[in-house]
Symmetry: C2
Subunit: 168 residues, 2 copies
């Protein structure tokens, strides 16, 4: 990591520290290392990759602490997930160009079309990464049904969105 990246990581760590104290969660050794790992990686690591990396510095961490911490960071808004959340793979037979709206709460997934979005080009930097097959816009939010049922725990309830509250 170069100097600028290091600054970014430090800034993120600070954000974590203050978020943690104001949310009343404890700042443990392992949480710090887990967050540092995600914050300083360019790889979008999954739980196991984080685990492997952190274990080098904290040989006793367990994989379940990694999972718990990552979801906690997600709940604190310090981290995002890539792709659909705690869900199984979904299939889509619509081969026409289209985009998706995804409810992060219940997993609802709906198509939408947009001439504007279809016209998008991808920047040159992307071409360098590899061949491009498809370009899709993914809009995430809370669907109206879930918003209507805005009840219950503020903390992420375990398993939310996987099977519970099946859309439609």
């Amino acid at each position: 990591l170069n100097k600028a990246d290091r600054l970014t990581v430090d800034c993120r760590l600070d954000r974590f520290r203050s978020a943690a104290s104001s949310a009343g969660v404890k700042l443990t050794h392992q949480r710090l290392e887990i967050f540092r790992e995600v914050a300083s990686s360019l790889e979008h690591p999954d739980a196991e990759a984080v685990f492997r990396a952190v274990r080098r510095r904290v040989p006793t961490v367990s994989i379940d602490t990694v999972y718990r911490t990552l979801w906690m960071l997600n709940d604190l808004g310090l981290v995002t997930t890539l792709g659909p959340r705690r869900e199984s793979v979904r299939f889509d037979a619509n081969l026409d160009r289209h985009h998706h709206y995804i409810c992060v709460r219940c997993g609802l997934a709906r198509d939408f079309d947009s001439a504007e979005l279809d016209a998008l080009g991808v920047p040159a930097a992307v071409q360098a990464m590899g061949r491009v097959i498809t370009t899709q816009v993914e809009v995430r939010g809370i669907c109206s049904r879930c918003a209507a049922a805005k009840n219950r725990t503020l903390k992420r309830n375990p398993r939310a969105g996987s099977r519970a509250a099946t859309p439609r």
Copy 2:
């Protein structure tokens, strides 16, 4: 389904029939029903949802046939998957607005920025679906590393992308 949708489904079924014969895969009762289900659903069903629906018409289908068929359809290019493929959830500490390039072969995920894409608005139809939290562009393709190693089976090799060929 209205008349136009029915036509779409029939067209997709025909496409399946010809793709199947030219690829030399057999056109079974259950495959037809599985494809019909995905092709006529607006729900982006996951494997289990397809299973439940098909079972009403073909009470003996098994969940593993559903899985096998869905991936086969994917290999044939008749179906797409939503979100990252056979992968575990990945995390991302980059909270700045950004987009993703994802290699469908090895699962590599990289950020990229684009002022043009950041300026996107979402169509009104989406507002009706629910509140919008984030808008991201997901570009899928084959990364240069995978393209370079363009060896081996044309058929999807099982487990590809999950653990094998860990990027970087």
